[in-house]
């Protein structure tokens, strides 16, 4: 069976900057893939490429390809790609505060998707919209549909954005840090609702986040991106039990745990390098405690991680498997 979304060896550049370098990942139906990395690692760019919207931000594919349901996006006409967007691929943006058209009632912004892609009448589209909003646990959905965006809270707006993404009955949802801009209390709720709906409907979900805690909570698989390259990928269980890449281990170390001693929450020293000056060899080596001189000289290939079988990591000195 072909994967729903298959990104193979994708490289993307904006101008002279090579921002993505040979990234591969895939999302199956009914599966949630977490795409993780710090800001500037290329997560959002991967999402934009998967939506076929790179030209909008002046980006271009310089290598590799994105396949949706077995079809190469680059070989489709723009009209075909447009037919996928909203219909088969739903998109949830990072910042719900600015994602909605401020001078259009929120219900209409959801209606348009099912009217355009499913050919529903105005009344049928609205009925569907209210139904979706109710499923997203929006109280008094019919009344809220008549509201303007500025009248809603951030959490409500994000539910509207999710309803927009669901309205075309898509096979795949791409959610770019859907909770980053929200209050912590709302974050968990939104993730739960989104994860639940995806599971119920057997859709695929590409969940972009920088929060390993969220990944552990809802994802089946995880892909870790660092400075435009894939650091590690695999099933969530084994990777959380025994990360092979020091960067993955460091990200997991950033999750706060119950009963942690004060001051024991770790960060990762240093910052993600700028695309103008990616380090040689393994791009993580300047921040890596385990780096040796060969890390700066040699680009580590993606290799199967440990004996667990599932998953790969790009590190010359993979961490030993725990336990």
């Amino acid at each position: 069976m072909t994967a729903l979304l298959q990104v193979t060896d994708l490289s993307v550049a904006i101008g002279a900057l090579r921002l993505l370098d040979g990234v591969s990942l895939s999302v199956e139906r009914g599966q949630i893939l977490g795409l993780v990395g710090e800001s500037g690692s290329g997560k959002s760019l991967t999402a934009t490429a998967a939506m076929g919207l790179l030209p909008l931000i002046g980006g271009r594919v310089t290598g590799g390809a994105v396949y949706f349901d077995g079809r190469d996006l680059a070989r489709m006409s723009e009209a075909e790609r447009r037919g996928l967007r909203g219909r088969r691929i739903g998109f949830v943006t990072q910042n719900p505060m600015t994602a909605l058209d401020p001078v259009q009632r929120v219900g209409e912004q959801i209606d348009v998707v099912s009217r355009l892609h499913l050919g529903l009448s105005k009344a049928a589209a609205r009925a569907r919209t209210v139904d979706l909003m109710t499923q997203l646990r929006i109280p008094e959905a019919a009344a809220v549909a008549e509201a303007w965006p500025h009248q809603l809270s951030g959490g409500m707006k994000q539910r509207i954005v999710i309803a927009m993404a669901l309205a075309g009955e898509p096979d795949l949802i791409i959610a770019d840090e859907p909770t980053t801009a929200l209050d912590v209390t709302v974050q968990a709720q939104i993730i739960q609702i989104l994860g639940g709906l995806v599971r119920e409907r057997g859709m695929g979900l590409l969940l972009i986040t920088h929060d390993m805690g969220v990944v552990a909570q809802v994802c089946d698989r995880v892909a870790v991106l660092y400075a435009g390259r894939l650091a590690e990928d695999g099933a969530v269980g084994p990777i959380f039990a025994a990360p092979a890449h020091p960067y993955t281990a460091a990200l997991i170390g950033c999750i706060p745990q119950d009963g942690m001693a004060p001051g024991s929450l770790r960060g990762i020293p240093g910052v993600v390098p700028s695309a103008r000056a990616f380090p040689s060899g393994c791009r993580f080596h300047p921040r890596c405690a385990r780096a040796t001189p060969d890390c700066a000289a040699q680009v580590p290939p993606l290799a199967p991680r440990g004996a667990a079988g599932a998953g790969r990591a790009a590190c010359l000195h993979m961490l030993p498997e725990a336990g």
Binding site: M51, L53, L56, R82, G83, L84, R85, G86, R87, F91, T93, N95, T98, A99, L100, D101, P102, V103, Q104, V112, V113, L116, H117, W148, H150, Q151, V161, M164, G168
Partner: protein, 308 residues
């Protein structure tokens, strides 16, 4: 909304009073007075005093102002000193000409300006954009009285397409409308273009693309919709400006209108007429501002929310 409207209209009252003081004051500080125009050369001081008393010009300025304002508020604009006719008659005769000219100029600059702005924004940094922006620069820097003379020279004198002056037929309107409208066209085109480009870069536009809407639909139904909010405000503000701008153009083209009446009366120091004309122009500016605010509120729910 209604209470906002009432508040907004009440706010115009002090503005109106301030404007009336300024109009009245400035006029009376200009050297010379209408009596000079009425008296025969060599008249006695007694005749002059009698004439001044007849028009109330011998009383202290504040009293004159109070009497004038009181009458104006009752709708009585007074009698023209030199023309010896009710000022209201003179205005009623002149105003339709000015409104026709100004209205057509406003319509012209709206349609042309928004159209050219859209073309420029959709072709950003390509030749149609550069062409439009070049025209905008030209259109916004040429003074209207000079532009009027050049248009007259080219289209009336050389080509003979339109009459040089007057207001006899529709053809006579073309050049004055162009003269006033081109500056507005440039302004509106520039604002439409820049607002569209600004709106197109907003986050929500990305999501519209992600919903699979066609680029044209996004541009016209969403981006333009946003871009028009500032454009409409500017246009409403220009209502007064265009009537005021018509003053010189009316004179250049020797058309009847508020401007011609104003200039003529100014030369004769015919206070009541000048005051009434200036008051009309000031009212047009005030009403334009009010209209702009109302239109903005109608187009943007956020503005309505801010009013509550």
């Amino acid at each position: 909304m209604l209470s906002y409207l009432i508040r907004r209209i009440l706010m115009l009252v002090p503005v109106f009073l301030a404007v009336s003081v300024i109009i009245f004051g400035i006029l009376h500080f200009i050297p010379g007075d209408p009596v000079d125009n009425l008296l025969k050369v060599g008249s006695s001081p007694g005749a002059r005093a009698e004439m001044e008393a007849r028009y109330g010009l011998d009383r202290p300025l504040p009293v004159q102002y109070g009497l004038w304002l009181g009458k104006v508020l009752q709708g009585d604009l007074g009698t023209a000193i030199v023309a010896r006719r009710p000022v209201a008659d003179l205005i009623a005769q002149a105003l339709p000409h000015s409104l026709r000219l100004g209205g057509l100029a406003l319509l012209f600059s709206t349609v042309m300006g928004v159209g050219l702005g859209i073309v420029a924004a959709l072709n950003r940094d390509r030749w149609p954009d550069r062409l439009v922006m070049g025209g905008v620069l030209l259109g916004s820097t040429l003074p209207s009285f000079w532009l009027g003379l050049i248009l007259m020279l080219v289209f009336s004198v050389w080509l003979g397409w339109f009459p040089v002056s007057g207001a006899r037929n529709a053809a006579a309107l073309v050049l004055p409308v162009l003269t006033i409208g081109l500056g507005g066209t440039a302004l509106v085109a520039r604002i439409t273009r820049v607002s569209m480009i600004e709106a197109a870069g907003r986050d929500f536009v990305t999501l519209l693309h992600a919903k699979g809407l066609s680029p044209l639909r996004i541009q016209l139904l969403h981006v333009l919709r946003h871009a028009l909010i500032p454009v409409v405000t500017i246009l409403a503000l220009r209502i007064g400006w265009i009537l005021g701008g018509a003053v010189t153009v009316e004179v250049v083209f020797a058309r009847a209108g508020l401007g011609t009446l104003l200039i003529k009366s100014l030369g004769q120091h015919d206070y009541p007429v000048v005051q009434a004309c200036l008051l009309m122009l000031a009212m047009a500016v005030m009403l334009g501002t009010l209209l702009g605010d109302i239109l903005q509120a109608m187009m943007d729910a956020r503005v309505r929310a801010a009013m509550e």
